[in-house]
Amino acid sequence: MIEVDAVSKYYTSGFFSRIRTYAVEDVSLSINRGEALGLVGESGSGKSTLGRMMLRLVEPSAGRVVFDGIDLRALKTPAMRQLRPRMQIVFQDPDTALDPRMTIGESVAEPLMVWQQGSRHERDDRVLELFAMVGLQPELADRRPFELSGGQKQRAALARAIVLEPEFIVLDEPTAALDLSVQAQILSLVQVLRKRMDLTLLFISHDLQVVEQMSGSVAVLHKGRIVESGRTADILHRPSHPYTIQLVEAARKSEEWFGKQRGNHGSGDEV
């Protein structure tokens, strides 16, 4: 479905742009149709840059991105635009993912407006249908983003992402900014949508456990390079690269810690 071949992205700085900083360096990976790939790595490891390059929202400095047999970098802007409804992205921060001046309903309907799909009435119906799919109350359609909770905003962002029925979605840490309980709800929503729409996913996260829930295979990004990739279960239990070992250990520790927190919380509720 989507294939990344020796892709790099560097940013230049300094006098005459002579200093190059690599955000992503020589990365290759591929995702088959209907599959989900997890992408883990610490903050600044280049996850977002890689995800955006796969949608050509960021122009790669080198390498090829092939979507369903189409070399994205060879496309001119109008042709790329025609392809956009087939691929989408959901961002990390729900607060900046929606235009603050638009109502939630307008934001979800915007892709339909852009592609002039349906009459006004049909669009309204479709928006309500999507609201139901992602678990938003219909009356939220007239609200603006600041009136919604983080979880609600992320549901709206998901609705907007799937309104054009894409085949491939990049989820860039979609739950990193949410509370644990809301996080679980959004993750299961993504699972439901994925099955229902037969989506191909790139699931970005800095949390191995979340990735374990979401995808069978994973690639570990460290300083812009993929240091390990394979089945999630294997990597979680037998990490080979020193960086992955660190990552797994950190995940274990936080699991213990969160476990205790949840325990305390539970007993607190009973009182």
């Binding site: 949608l55 929202l57 025609q82 956009r84 961002f91 235009d99 603050p100 915007e110 892709p111 907007r160």
Partner: protein
């Protein structure tokens, strides 16, 4: 008093000015240049603000003069802010080399003082009000371009703009439907402050006789009275009405700008007086 009250007061004052300008022929008892009586009559029932040195009705001149003064101020501001907004959004959104080059050019142009430049230009050409207004609008937009460009640049980098690109929205749509609406607070504030600026400047330009001195506006009225020594002769009714009119609208615009600042910027809420 809250700033909201200030806003309504200023809107009411501005509405009054606009009504007068719009309905000038119905409000003014005489024409602006019509000679209607003895010169230098003090105010009485027939001439609300008396007459000037050639026997024109000052009240009628004030009413008709509002048209030139207001049109000059608001049209220059509209032109200037339109240019600033379009250019600022395009530069901020596309960024890159064009942005860099244009910003360098603006840096060079910015310190050029407009007022002296205008005076130099008018010694070579003989412009009317419209030409001066256009020139002022264009020259004055330089500062505004930088003012609008900065927030446009940071908006262009927010995820929801990237999200709009990812659904296939065209650049034109992104700039007009997403960036512009989010910049409206800045644009409106700039328009209000520019209007005040241009309006006062228009009166000043007319005062120094930059355009056709036969045009009746508040600047030329003050100039006439001033150069004839109205002040030293105690002919207050000749010079005070246009003076107060200018100060009044300028204050109203300043008040509007001040109160808009709060409604657009929630962070100033704490500073409410």
């Amino acid at each position: 008093m809250t700033r909201n009250a200030f806003l309504w007061i200023s809107v009411a004052i501005l509405a009054l000015y606009f009504t007068v300008a719009l309905l000038a022929p119905f409000i003014a008892p005489y024409g602006a240049t019509e000679i209607v009586g003895a010169p230098l009559q003090p105010p009485d029932r027939g001439h609300l603000f008396g007459t000037n040195d050639v026997g024109q009705d000052i009240f009628s001149q004030l009413v008709y003069g509002s048209r030139v003064t207001l049109i000059f101020g608001f049209c220059s501001a509209l032109l200037s802010v339109s240019i600033s907004t379009c250019a600022g959004i395009v530069l901020g959104y596309y960024g890159g080399n064009i942005d860099e080059v244009v910003c360098r050019i603006l840096d060079i142009l910015m310190p050029i003082p407009i007022f002296p430049l205008l005076i130099v230009l008018t010694t070579f050409f003989n412009p009317g009000v419209v030409q001066v207004s256009i020139l002022m609008g264009v020259l004055g937009s330089i500062h505004g371009i930088r003012l609008i460009r900065a927030p446009a640049l940071s908006l262009a980098e927010t995820p929801f703009i990237e999200g709009a690109r990812s659904i296939g929205a065209t650049d034109l749509r992104i700039m007009s439907r997403h960036i512009l609406p989010n910049l409206m607070p800045v644009v409106t504030a700039k328009f209000v402050s520019s209007s005040q600026h241009y309006l006062v400047m228009g009166v000043g330009l007319s005062f120094i006789g930059l355009w056709d001195t036969m045009t009746v506006d508040w600047g030329s009225m003050i100039q006439n009275a001033y150069s004839s020594g109205a002040l030293s002769l105690g002919l207050w009714w000749w010079i005070l009405p246009p003076g107060i009119a200018v100060v009044g609208i300028s204050l109203a615009l300043a008040l509007a700008g001040y109160s808009l600042e709060e409604s657009f910027n929630p962070r100033t809420e704490v500073n409410r007086i």
